[in-house]
């Protein structure tokens, strides 16, 4: 069969393939991710994510910072999961130094990590519909974010870069009455979250754009090392909070939200349902914090030096598995601190996910992979 194709001037002789760049400056890439697409009309033949536009050399910078200064940088590679990031780095150093973190700090950290997860998910629950044309949900998502951010700011002083973890615990004790105010905020968000839920989850237009679009199979997700909500939406039932508990997760019952469809809509649903789960977990942690007396940090030597050795600390970050491989030669700075980020692995799956889809679906898929460019490029 022969097809007659009319192409624009200047493309004669090039065949029907068109190479299109999405990004690096494109609103739907949340920053500077570039995709090189080969198109056949409206259909994507191949897609290649080109990363590195926001590379800041975080791993190299770690090597010339002491363990307190490193937390400043870990705050920033995934700016939406700042607390979970600094937590992972602190856990790695604590394990190498053999520090036992006081129980009160462990439960406070767990509560804050869950609140951070809610904040992260709310951001995507607002921005994802925005990308595919629904501008309303973002206002509802940010109303909830603001409520929780006030709580985080009261305890840590920061709204995004909390800088509240320290090697051996937390920076300082919570202000008097903070736990009850945090519980109030959680209650308020829980009460208002169904608004966001009803607004978008079953919206006909939203479903038309996302159901059955961008299906990632469990095997593909595993092959690309995808983790977190993206992998769980494909039926990859893996959550470090349950499977390899750190902090206080071992004594909590962590319900893991799993979907099997693997399409954009199920990825969105996993995120939405995880918010309910995390709010409940945070409340349980705060109740425990109120029952435990004691310090929230340990006395450290004047110069914190991790003994010679290496360790790998991984945590279930909001976007997936985040790991720090710490190699120390006994100095006050790490010899090497390798960073394994969730977004980096998740973005790689785009090259199999995008071919075959239409250009309008591309944005729906891209947005549903839930990545932070800083976390991709490090």
């Amino acid at each position: 069969m022969t097809a007659e194709v009319t192409v624009a001037t200047g493309t004669g002789g090039l065949g029907t393939d068109m190479v299109l760049n999405i990004g690096p400056q494109h609103p739907s890439t949340h920053g500077v991710l570039r995709l090189r697409l080969k198109l056949d009309g409206e259909r994507v033949i191949s897609a290649e994510p080109i990363i590195g536009y926001m590379h800041r050399g975080a791993e190299k910078l770690f090597e010339v910072r002491d363990y307190r200064q490193i937390l400043v940088l870990t705050n920033r590679h995934d700016w939406l999961s700042a607390f979970s990031n600094e937590l992972g780095a602190a856990l790695a150093v604590e394990r190498l130094m053999g520090i036992e973190v006081p129980e009160r700090a462990v439960w406070l950290r767990t509560a804050l990590a869950e609140l951070n997860r809610v904040l992260n998910h709310l951001m995507f629950l607002g921005s994802y519909p925005l990308e595919i044309g629904a501008i309303t949900p973002v206002f509802y998502a940010f109303r909830e974010r603001e409520t929780l951010q006030a709580v985080m700011e009261e305890i840590s002083g920061g709204r995004m870069h909390y800088m509240f973890n320290r090697v051996g615990g937390l920076k300082e004790e919570a202000p008097a009455g903070w736990t009850s105010r945090a519980r109030d905020a959680i209650g308020l968000v829980e009460k208002r979250l169904p608004d966001l839920d009803r607004l978008i989850r079953r919206n006909d237009i939203f479903m038309a754009r996302t159901v059955g679009v961008g299906v990632l199979t469990a095997a593909q997700a595993a092959a690309y090392g995808a983790s977190g909500p993206v992998a769980r939406a494909s039926g990859l039932d893996f959550d470090l909070r349950r499977d390899e508990p750190y902090l206080a997760y071992g004594s909590l019952k962590v319900p893991v939200v799993v979907r099997t469809a693997g399409d954009c809509h199920s990825r969105f649903e996993v995120l939405l349902d995880q918010v309910y789960v995390s709010l409940e977990l945070a409340r349980q942690c705060l109740d425990r914090v109120d029952q435990i007396k004691g310090p929230v940090n340990v006395r450290l030597p004047k110069v914190v030096k991790a003994p010679e050795g290496h360790t790998y600390a991984w945590t279930e970050n909001p976007l997936g598995i985040n790991g720090y491989y710490l190699v120390s030669r006994g100095e006050k700075t790490p010899w090497r601190l390798k960073l394994r980020t969730a977004s980096f692995a998740n973005v790689q799956a785009l090259s199999t996910l995008l071919p075959g889809c239409l250009v309008p679906d591309l944005i729906a898929i891209l947005g549903s992979m839930f990545f932070v460019v800083g976390d991709v490029d490090k």
Binding site: R65, R68, Q69, L71, V72, L73, N75, R76, R104, T136, Y140, R143, E146, A150, E153, E154, I155, S156, G157, G158, H161, M163, K171, E172, E173, A174, P175, A176, G177, W178, T179, D195, R198, L199, I200, R201, R202, N203, D204, I205, F206, M207, V289, D290, I292, K293, G294, P295, V296
Partner: protein
């Protein structure tokens, strides 16, 4: 989930309607100042007379945005055998265009010369003006709030514990 087409849309519009008739959450920012908690990290204030030019803050800063110059002065103390040496601060600048607002300098300061203030309205048209000198940093001292009391379940703050110890000793 209902099979009726447009059901999800209708449900969403019901939320919109509900929000339309309820109180708005908008904050009238420039007219109404936001209420910020005392720990809020807005700007760093310097109490100059507490600074001993030990340089700990400048060394601990993760991106080295604190600039300190000083000279030594001799102070003759009546009755002492020889005059004492004292550090005098000539320059204490913080470059807020570099500052990452981590608070390590404040934590590192052993003499309570640095404090957080929740003030945040110091945007500039020229990036060079974000370098605050010691006079400007001193002015922020007036805006530093008292620290919040600690949760009674946890340990009291270092200042409280020290004060208690002193009261017990006296």
């Amino acid at each position: 989930m209902s099979g009726v087409p447009g059901y999800g849309l209708g449900k969403g519009l019901a939320i919109t309607l509900k929000t339309l008739v309820s109180r708005s959450t908008t904050q009238q920012y420039p007219d109404v100042a936001p209420e910020l908690p005392p720990r809020s990290r807005g700007v760093i204030a310097l109490r100059e007379e507490n600074c001993t030019v030990c340089m700990l803050c400048a060394r601990e800063c993760p991106d080295w945005c604190i600039y300190i110059d000083s000279h030594k002065e001799e102070v003759v103390v009546p009755g002492a055998a020889r005059p004492r040496q004292r550090n005098v601060l000539d320059r204490f600048d913080i470059d807020f265009s570099l500052c990452m607002y981590c608070g390590i300098c404040i934590e590192a300061c052993p003499f309570d010369a640095l404090f957080w203030s929740p003030e945040f309205e110091y945007a500039e048209y020229d990036i060079r003006n974000l370098l605050h000198d010691k006079d400007r940093l001193n002015e922020w001292m007036a805006t530093v709030p008292a620290p919040p009391a600690h949760d009674p379940q946890g340990e009291p703050s270092k200042e409280e514990a020290n004060a208690l110890k002193k009261a017990g000793a006296a």
